[in-house]
């Protein structure tokens, strides 16, 4: 059983501060949906609004088509996995898992049965009598998930639950989360500042910044076809070239940048004279000569070998930094530091977007 979640022009204000500004979106039932953004972008506020800890200042939250206004967190068909998991330290694992059933008045024997069932699902069979403090990080994670699933929510909300784990385990838990979601088939709403997590697990992603939803789309769309400067700079690495649009048609635009006149796709329909930023990803750029309007001069500053990739940091005109990433299999020869080299890219891999705020590093 799953339900869609609908945000209808939701605005949340804390005093003078607007945490979420007029957010509208429609999450389908059974979808794995992520909110991605830097800390303070309003993603946690959205989660807390959906779970009912916050009431929106304006707008409505609907779950399964039903308006949630005035319905407290304990009455909503949602379950939340907290960033620090918030397991109850004074209860055993089984008591934790079945706490939601206990407050619903389910009798002890059925609770025990349900606990065993869920312990099997999270691969901790027979460990119900353990204390929470006896579990490893990953086990705690799974118990938190089981506890949330025990109340059979229609929507599961996850607030950066993997952030406390170390890298290896985090990557492992990603696939585990995804497979649990497919098994139970309910809607997952996932909050993260880690684009790797968002891209690998989600059906769709909403990228947020400063309380505003910047773009909604699947991982590929967000990565390959960003619609705002923020998304282009936040998701993956990108080289920005700000300037003024020189010429534009429906498909392509050229921008007068500090590096010269450069060309790229024009998805947002920029017009001549507009302020715009051309983005070229490091892996889309090559060292070498190409067409005049997709090539510019630079000098190598230093080279960083990173296993699967080699990052070349260059300095263009006016001391602007540019990064080019070279794949392992590439036959490109990498020049030594202080050598001059042209950089080029394919025009369809450059993208011209209206000027806007960039993600802070």
């Amino acid at each position: 059983m799953s339900a869609g979640v609908e945000l209808d022009r939701v605005t949340v204000r804390f005093g003078e501060f607007t945490a979420v500004d007029n957010a509208t979106l429609d999450i389908k039932g059974g979808e794995f949906f992520s909110f991605l953004g830097p800390s303070g972008c309003g993603k946690t506020t959205i989660l807390r609004t959906v779970s009912g800890f916050l009431e929106p200042t304006h707008g409505h939250v609907r779950i399964g088509g039903q308006d949630m206004s005035g319905i407290g967190p304990n009455k909503r068909p949602t379950a939340l996995i907290f960033q620090n998991l918030a397991l109850f330290p004074l209860m055993s694992v089984a008591e934790n898992i079945t706490y939601g059933l206990r407050v619903r008045g389910v009798d002890k024997a059925s609770r025990r049965k349900k606990a065993d069932e869920l312990l099997d699902l999270i691969a901790l069979p027979g460990q119900g009598d353990k204390l929470v403090s006896e579990l490893s990080g990953g086990q705690k994670q799974r118990v938190a998930i089981a506890r949330a699933l025990a109340v059979q929510p229609k929507v599961l909300l996850l607030d950066e639950p993997l952030s406390a784990l170390d890298l290896k385990l985090r990557q492992h838990m990603r696939s585990e989360l995804r497979s649990i979601q497919q098994k139970v088939g309910i809607t997952f709403i996932y909050i993260t500042h880690d684009q790797g997590e968002a891209l690998t697990m989600s059906d769709r992603i909403a990228v947020m910044s400063d309380g505003v939803i910047q773009q909604i789309g699947d991982g590929k769309a967000v990565y390959d076809a960003p619609t705002t400067a923020f998304v282009a700079s936040f998701v993956g690495e990108n080289n920005p070239f700000p300037g003024i649009v020189a010429q534009a048609d429906d498909n392509y635009a050229t921008v007068d940048t500090a590096f010269g006149r450069l060309r790229g796709r024009n998805p947002r329909g920029a017009k001549a004279g507009d302020k715009a930023i051309l983005f070229v990803r490091p892996e889309s750029a090559r060292l070498g000569q190409g067409e005049t309007d997709t090539t510019f001069a630079s000098t190598v500053k230093n080279v960083a070998f990173e296993g699967n990739m080699t990052h070349v940091y260059l300095e263009g005109i006016g001391k602007k930094d540019v990064t080019v990433s070279v794949g392992r299999r590439s036959s490109m020869t990498i020049p030594a530091p202080h050598e001059a080299t042209p950089i080029c890219y394919d025009a369809e891999l450059g993208i011209v977007l209206p000027e806007g705020m960039l993600a802070r590093e």
């Binding site: 009455k75 407050v103 403090s133 492992h172």
Partner: protein, 292 residues
């Protein structure tokens, strides 16, 4: 090296002096409890006796006082622990501008001399009870007034104990329970109260002890009744008898037992926590191996 050794020697000597100061008088008093002379004397030790303990047992007013002290202690705990708990919860939720005043009012009994608490309690309740015509009844009694007077500052102790633990409470626990469908009262009974249980135990123990030992407030509020401490004060004022030393020996004995019991409980708890920690470590290692 030598200067360090001199330093250590001095620290050791100082600690010895400090605890000599703390325990010396009590030790001397302890000896007098077992010595035969009528005047409590430690030296010369004439002969060993347990007579003073028997005398103490037969001391009527002291035993009455002890009974009252226990009743008052229970009464004070019964009021102060719930009040302190409620006050700490309100403290964490109160309208922020009123917090300063609220803190000042609730903590003021700790800074007010006990004498003043006793006096104000008597003056106030005497009038309140005479207006409500309770003066002749059950309520205008030393025991009741003492409970009220002591509860005013013992509640403040309890408030501090609960506040100290509440500030370390993870609010996400509360939210997690709510999110799983618990009502607000259920959160209180299932999550908050179990979390505060150690603080409840401390509050009960400290509340009872400070009620039991109190003199300044009690001496005013007790009116014609008596507690162990006021009887003791009367005895000490009149003169000195080794029976008082015997009482001190009993109290010290009980407190030592209590301290040892507390230490054992602490150790047990520590062992349990250590075992859990080791298990978690093993689970952590297994997990990493399973992924690799």
């Amino acid at each position: 090296m030598t200067s360090k050794m001199i330093m250590r020697g001095m620290i050791g000597f100082y600690i010895l002096l400090f605890f000599g100061y703390l325990f010396g008088p009590l030790a001397v008093m302890g000896i007098t409890a077992f010595n035969t002379p009528n005047y409590p004397q430690a030296y010369p030790f004439e002969a060993f006796t347990l007579d003073w303990f028997v005398k103490l047992w037969n001391h009527r007013s002291m035993m009455d006082g002890l009974k009252n002290s226990i009743i008052i202690g229970i009464g004070v705990v019964a009021i102060s622990v719930p009040v302190g708990l409620a006050a700490s919860i309100i403290m964490s939720q109160i309208y922020h501008r009123a917090r300063g005043l609220y803190y000042l009012v609730t903590i003021s009994p700790l800074l007010t001399p006990g004498v003043i608490i006793g006096i104000s309690t008597v003056i106030f309740w005497k009038d309140v009870m005479s207006v409500t015509d309770l003066t002749k009844g059950l309520f205008y009694k030393g025991i009741i007034l003492t409970i009220l007077g002591q509860a005013s500052f013992v509640s403040a102790y309890c408030l501090l104990i609960f506040m100290a633990r509440l500030t370390r409470f993870d609010r996400a626990q509360e939210e997690a329970a709510l999110d799983l469908g618990a009502s607000y009262p259920q959160v209180f009974w299932h999550i908050l109260l179990p979390y505060l249980k150690p603080a409840v135990v401390s509050a009960v123990v400290i509340g009872f002890l400070s009620s039991f030992e109190n003199y300044n407030t009690t001496t005013f509020a007790i009116l014609a009744d008596k507690t162990l401490v006021t009887v003791l004060a009367g005895e000490v004022r009149q003169g000195t008898t080794p029976a008082l030393s015997a009482l001190a020996v009993i109290i010290i004995g009980i407190s030592l037992l209590g301290a040892i019991g507390y230490e054992i409980a602490k150790r047990r708890e520590q062992t349990r926590a250590d075992r859990a920690y080791r298990q978690a470590q093993i689970a952590e290692r297994d997990e990493v191996e399973a992924i690799a």
